[in-house]
């Protein structure tokens, strides 16, 4: 066992990873978990917030078991959750290609990809249940890509040397979500799940130290309502939109997780954010979001920039000797499939140097000419046709004739609510699943592993761990919505929303979001350093006070008001942004997506500090966003060898 630190883990941060060899832990947990017998399940009410992959799969599975489930989404339909936008694929250790994959290889790749900052027990379980996910989704009718013989096809993704990624054209997230949505819909039709759509969680109610329920705002009427339950699951997605420009859908936000944080749930590793290397570069100042081009494109596309600073020829006129295929040059073993953080930084450095391409010189080329030559256009079209079309629609250029232009953009957040092995937060009875929790990806998530984790949490982990948590509550009464605490929290929410309307300043919520996003991107984006982070920690609070005195929300609190919704979300992003910078400042090492300029090798690779930072940083809310308290969960590695990540 590698135990580098003699620092203690905070008492609230006991991971509850079961005993036994790594491979036996999950079986041991299941063997010892308490169960609720079928006829008693009806006695329990579970609230699931979010209907993305994690939420829809959890709600459907829990209802199938017999629990009464209330599902909430701010979308008009569960099918619109942001999971729908995932393109590339989902990993599973099926080894259908016979290329040497296994549960332990997927485990090792994930631990290494996360730069040794994730919890072994959770990651191993994830790799184990990955195989069940594919079975489950095929049974639901997900039309995964097939070989001519009718068996499932695979492709490879960054950070792996095997082909373990299952996909449905460039719409894997869509097809998986529709599978989970349909399963959820069946339960809604049967009455096992009650659906609350266009309904936003605005606070969490904690009574006697336990999650007692939530307060929601009906987006169509503005009405605030309390909901009580025996357990609450937050599957509310990631917080990448803190950066304003990101590949996330416009409405993704941190509100649910942040409210939980303010009510006592620790927030883990907020500075671990992922920048995806292949997005379409920003085109102009009206840009509202960035579009991802699936990482799968790097299977056949070659990334390059011109060697000459004053290059002004069109891409196809630049001869081979004047091109720098920098990923192949720097990382020969993985080449264009080097992991996301590494590929992103390599591109940023060249663009910063002035070697960028495109009208704003803010991108690098992703070139398919060689692939089209080798495979023929029909094969390339079959593999990537819809992505090429999407690119052409946005950029106005045809990637069959000229290389795509790409640049890194914020894409995913590894940080999130701290959870133990049972996916329970530091508030008993409150669980977090999917991108909303922090658990499995360390400092860097591998491509195609978020879909895997969301479905693992919802289908195969929560149903067991929630039963374990609920069994002791059988026949005990839990507080109902008539408890005064519900009324108190409702009133607080009412005051908060009225407060936004009352400022009557001059700037819209979007203005503040854009300005805040720029600060976080500049100081807490792809590269961070002490100076910048300290600057951010004075500039963000300054902008935040402006927000509080100069915000303008038009319209009223009754009826639909998207400006008001946005104001609430931006408010929470301000507080989160502060915590992200603080977390980045206190983590004095570079690891995966967290790259501190001060800690790098001469070649510019990340330098970890296992002596002092082999831990999860989990932040406790103290009532003031500038003064959160930092706690540590020490990470121990029994199986994986702590090593310098190398993709050379």
């Amino acid at each position: 066992m590698t135990m580098l630190q003699d620092r203690p883990t905070d008492t609230k941060l006991i991971s509850k990873v079961p005993d036994g060899a790594l491979a036996d832990k999950w079986d041991n947990f299941k063997a010892n978990a308490k169960l609720v017998n079928p006829s008693n399940k009806r006695k329990f009410k579970i609230i699931v917030v979010g209907t993305g992959l994690a939420g829809a799969s959890a709600a459907a599975s829990l209802a199938e078991l017999g629990y009464r489930v209330d599902a909430f989404t701010f979308h008009d339909s569960p099918r619109r959750a942001h999971s729908i936008a995932a393109q590339g694929g989902i990993n599973a250790a099926k080894n259908y290609q016979g290329d040497g994959d296994s549960v332990s290889r997927l485990f090792t790749d994930t631990i290494k990809g996360g730069d040794f900052r994730s919890r072994e027990g959770n990651v191993y379980r994830l790799a184990q249940v990955s195989v069940n996910i594919i079975d489950q989704m095929v049974a639901q009718g997900v039309p995964f890509a097939r070989e001519y013989g009718g068996l499932l096809d695979n492709r490879s993704f960054g950070g792996a040397q095997v082909s373990r990624t299952f996909y449905a054209r460039g719409q894997t997230g869509q097809q998986l979500l529709l599978g989970a949505y349909q399963q959820l819909s069946r339960q809604i039709g049967l009455g096992g799940v009650r659906l609350f759509n266009r309904c936003e969680l605005v606070d969490i109610v904690v009574i006697d130290g336990r999650a007692a329920g939530i307060v929601t705002r009906d987006l169509l009427t503005g009405e605030l309502t309390s909901h009580a339950a025996h357990a609450v699951v937050l599957a509310t997605g990631g917080y990448g939109n803190a950066y304003y420009l990101s590949t996330n859908a416009m409405n993704c936000n941190v509100t649910a997780a942040w409210r939980a944080h303010q009510r006592g749930a620790y927030f883990a590793n907020p500075c671990y954010t992922q920048i995806h290397p292949t997005c379409i570069p920003q085109a102009d100042e009206t840009q509202s979001k960035l579009t991802l081009m699936s990482e799968s494109l790097r299977n056949d596309g070659r990334v390059w920039v011109p060697k000459n600073f004053d290059e002004n020829r069109a891409a196809h006129e630049i001869p081979e000797q004047d091109r720098d295929y920098f990923l192949e040059r720097l990382y020969p073993a993985y080449g264009n499939l080097a992991p996301r953080d590494i590929s992103s930084r390599a591109a940023k450095r060249l663009v910063d140097k002035g070697l960028g391409v495109g009208p704003l010189k803010n991108g690098v080329y992703l070139d398919f000419a060689e692939a089209i030559g080798r495979l023929g256009r029909p094969v390339v079209e079959e593999r990537y046709g819809n992505l090429f079309e999407m690119y052409e629609r946005i950029a106005g250029e045809n990637p069959y004739d000229q290389p795509m232009r790409i640049y890194p953009a914020t894409h995913y957040t590894m940080g999130g609510l701290w959870v133990d092995y049972e996916l329970q937060t530091t508030i008993p009875g409150l669980y977090a699943a999917g991108e909303a929790n922090f658990s499995d990806h360390g400092t860097n998530r591998l491509g195609a592993s978020a879909l895997m984790q969301g479905l693992a949490d919802g289908y195969f982990v929560l149903p067991y761990t929630i039963s374990n948590g609920l069994a002791p509550l059988l026949n005990k009464t839990v507080p109902g919505t008539d408890h005064p605490e519900f009324k108190r929290v409702e009133t607080e929410a009412k005051v908060r929303f009225q407060g936004y309307l009352n400022v009557k300043g001059t700037r819209s919520p979007d203005y503040f979001h854009r300005e805040l996003g720029k600060l976080i991107w500049d100081y807490c984006g792809m590269e961070r350093d002490r100076n910048g982070l300290e600057k951010a920690l004075t500039e963000i609070p300054a902008l935040y006070s402006e927000f509080k005195t100069d915000l303008r929300v038009t319209g009223t609190g009754e009826g639909i008001n998207q400006t008001l919704e946005k104001a609430g979300r931006v408010d929470d992003f301000f507080q989160l942004g502060t915590l992200m910078c603080k977390d980045a400042l206190t983590r004095e090492e570079s690891a995966g997506g967290h790259f501190r300029v001060e800690y790098q090798t001469e070649e510019g690779e990340a330098v970890r500090d296992d002596e002092n930072f082999c831990h999860v940083a989990a932040w406790e809310w103290t009532g003031d966003e500038n003064n959160a308290t930092r706690h540590e969960e020490q990470l121990t590695f029994e199986t994986a060898q702590l090593a310098t990540r190398s993709y050379k």
Binding site: A85, A139, G173, L220, T286, R393, Y459
Partner: protein, 258 residues
Amino acid sequence: MTHSVSNLTLKVWRQNGPADKGQFETHVIESITDEASFLEMLDVLNERLIGENKEAIVFDHDCREGICGTCSLMINGQAHGPQRGSTTCQLHMRSFKDDDTIVIEPWRANAFPIIKDLMVDRAAFDRIVESGGFITSPTGGAPDANLIPVPKPVADAAMDAAACIGCGACVAACPNSAANLFVGAKITHLNLLPQGQAERYKRAEAMVDKMDEHFGSCTNHGECSAACPKEISLDVIALMNKDYRSAKFKNRKQLSRK
């Protein structure tokens, strides 16, 4: 090089709630870069409205990359605007010329009541899926995925139908407000696959009957497929009709056996 489009006259539908009568409101966009998407143009307009202390125009949107199905809008009478095979969020201002007049309306169909301005309620689609748009396979009991081989052409055809994003453009474009393309797409996706056979006829019957409670009937105009951002083929309607007929026949036979 970036270019811009200037002097656009927008006629935008404003309706303050389901009961309100609603009317067009005119706004002029002096100039906007042609790299901006259509929805980004509306963002710019909304910023301006807030600046003038007015309420922003309400419209549905989320992913802005053509996959979530949240955005809608009739643009100059066309569902999702003039660009074929794409959603409103994927439409860029380079599709418009200086001095154009652009009429922007919500989906109009009885089954999609207007909530406010350009936002409508498409919950009827969810009700149809709840009635049968799934394969019953509770978590945990699935066999190994490769035990169910699916011939590639079948998987591909199922995928073509499964690409539907549930946006409702087909309904909005149809003179009868029929939902046959949407429902046909889901039935085709599931009924083509070996996994979907057990519930094939039950599914067709339940979904079509539920559809008929909410939507108008199809008279083969084909406007739906022309407006569909995913270019779902009219063939899905044929398959749906065939399975629905067989379902009625089979169910009658079962009834007579009782």
